[in-house]
């Protein structure tokens, strides 16, 4: 995998006081993103605003699209033209993007999409927080596919993880979702942006062979097909239909088997490389609190309180929510009494946790319908009950 130092032009080195939305844009620019297309929606509008001001100054393009359907389409086009492309949205826009997100998966197109989640369903709570799009992030488009979703809990992580999102996206030729939320998006905190030479960015593999022999979907030894840039003189075909290595439609079960297995396996087989989790005192724990995004910050308060009372509580934070750290959870489930899982929804990723725990221990969700974050005491009470 080709790793480069970041282009200093896009890196706003220094210590800043930024909100999460702005930090998403700064992370993208540092990662080398030079194309933004979007349809602004609360609470993600500030990201689009920041891009509109900053990206033309670093030689990039900002387009306000007619809607979210067009937004995903324009990202796919920009990416095939060789640019690192990004958009940002929230619940209602995310729904509209699902069809072409599937197209991006099918065409193995690197791009990054951030969802600054708000309370739903429908128009829901435009200005208040939620984590209710987590299952949609995994299964929102039709058909079988795998996707990567990472979840920052602070403006600093909005910066750091957006760079990581681009790196993973370029490496695996897959859309990567940055699943943040209104609380993190609108919260201002200190954000340290390092010098460009300290930021590593990945670049997609480019095909170097004869022009008439390029096959856009022929996997290399590492399972990932190299790309070319549209306009560089290669003639190739891409389609949302089930296709073979050449990119031409082949409508039968054999090709479907090859095509879908490839889309899923390139992520599944590299799960260990992709998945990042943070663990604290899980080895000796009786209860492990699992969380992601803003909920993981609030959870630490509850965990600290429980530990003060002598309870053996561990903390497991999902930085990568999708793919889910199945292997680690299966192993932990054998040793703990219970998992406790606070999410700002009525219970979503907790079902995946339950599946992986496989009945070996209790799994207790701590739902919050959205509009705010958990009261740490509500999580604490569940920990205490689960430890009994």
């Amino acid at each position: 995998m080709k790793k480069n130092k970041a282009d200093p032009k896009g890196v706003l080195t220094g210590t800043h006081f930024l909100d999460g939305d702005f930090s998403l844009a700064e992370g993208a620019l540092a990662a080398g993103c030079r194309f933004f297309g979007g349809y602004p929606i609360t609470p993600s509008t500030e990201t689009a605003e920041r891009f509109s001001e900053r990206i033309p100054r670093v030689g990039g393009v900002f387009i306000q699209m007619e809607d979210e359907l067009g937004t995903m389409a324009v990202l796919i086009g920009a990416s095939w033209a060789g640019k690192k492309a990004m958009s940002v949205t929230s619940g209602p826009g995310f729904s509209l993007m699902m069809e072409n997100l599937g197209l991006a998966c099918m065409l193995e197109t690197p791009l990054v999409l951030a969802n600054v989640q708000r309370g739903g369903p429908s128009t829901g709570l435009p200005t208040l927080t939620g984590q209710q799009d987590m299952m949609q992030a995994r299964w929102g488009s039709h058909g079988d596919y795998e996707i990567i979703a990472i979840s920052p809990d602070s403006p600093q992580e909005c910066f750091d993880f957006t760079i990581e999102a681009f790196n993973l996206s370029e490496k695996y030729r897959v859309p990567v979702l940055v699943m943040t939320d209104e609380c993190v998006g609108h919260m201002h905190e200190k954000v340290v942006i390092p010098p460009a030479e300290e930021i590593e960015v990945s670049e997609r593999k480019l095909y170097k062979g004869p022009k008439d022999q390029y096959l856009p979907f022929k996997p290399d030894k590492d399972g990932i097909p190299p790309m070319v840039k549209a306009g560089d003189g290669y003639q190739f075909h891409v389609t949302g239909l089930t296709h073979d290595e050449r990119g031409y439609p082949v409508i039968n079960a054999e090709c479907q088997d090859w095509c879908v297995r490839h889309l899923v396996d390139k992520i599944k087989n590299n799960a260990d490389d992709i998945i990042q989790i943070e663990e604290d005192q899980t080895d000796s724990a009786e209860v492990v609190v699992v969380s992601y995004g803003i909920s993981s910050r609030v959870a630490v308060r509850a965990v600290n309180k429980a530990r003060k009372e002598g309870l053996k509580v561990g903390n497991l934070r999902l930085i990568t929510v999708w793919p889910f750290p199945e292997k680690r959870i299966r192993k932990l489930a054998k040793d703990v009494k219970a998992f406790v899982f606070p999410e700002i929804n009525y219970g979503q990723v907790v079902h995946e946790l339950e599946r992986c725990a496989g009945g070996q221990c209790k799994v207790v969700g701590v739902p919050h319908m959205g509009g705010g974050v958990h009261n740490p005491d509500d999580i604490y009470k569940v920990i205490k009950e689960a430890a009994k």
Binding site: T15, H16, F17, C183, H186, M187, H188, E189, K190, I294, R297, V298, V300, R301, G372, V373, P376
Partner: protein, 182 residues
């Protein structure tokens, strides 16, 4: 840990107040703050509040629960947020815009908007308030506050903002001096 709320109506620079104080505390002084904001759909005129949680360590819970400092620049904000101020909390108001309906707390007041008008532009009333706030609470040093200003106010108004800050700060020191005497 310290919890602070700035409040008033949209257009007064209430959000900006917390951004300046938050930047001064975290970026300039190297500690930690989390700033959140709440406002209505109106661009101007609606109730508006910004909150700051400040700590020597990383802030986990991002919202304030029971603030120890409340700054009010409108009557509506005072009535809405005063009951939530901690028992021995510090209440700071704009003298001409807020008429307190209870004397049970110690109240620090400054004619911020009037001073700003005297300096030539009422838009800097929030900076007069920030100067006064800095003197009364000693949350951060006045130097740190001033260092936080570039980038948060338009460059061409920087000097005017410094002037407004100094005006409020000096008035605050005078109020503290008189408090000591009495």
């Amino acid at each position: 840990m310290t919890e602070i709320r700035f409040s008033g109506y949209g257009g007064q620079g209430i959000i900006r107040c917390a951004m300046i104080a938050g930047k001064a505390f975290s970026v300039v002084e190297g500690k930690h703050t989390t700033m959140t904001q709440s406002f209505g759909p109106e661009a101007r005129g609606g109730a508006c509040s910004s909150q700051l949680v400040a700590s020597d360590e990383r802030v986990l819970y991002p919202y304030i629960t029971k603030p120890e400092v409340l700054v009010c620049m409108s009557q509506e904000a005072y009535e809405k947020y005063e009951p939530n101020l901690r028992e021995n909390g510090t209440l700071i108001i704009d003298k001409d815009l807020v008429k307190p309906n209870s004397q049970k707390r110690k109240i620090y007041s400054v004619p911020a908007t009037r001073f700003a008008e005297e300096l030539g532009n009422r838009i800097i009333a929030n900076l007069v308030m920030m100067g006064f706030f800095t003197a009364i609470t000693q949350f951060v040093s006045p130097e740190s506050m001033k260092k936080a200003l570039p980038g948060l106010v338009p460059d061409r108004y920087l000097d005017l903002n410094y002037k407004a800050f100094d005006k409020g700060y000096e008035y605050g020191l005078k109020v503290l001096e008189e408090e000591k005497k009495s």
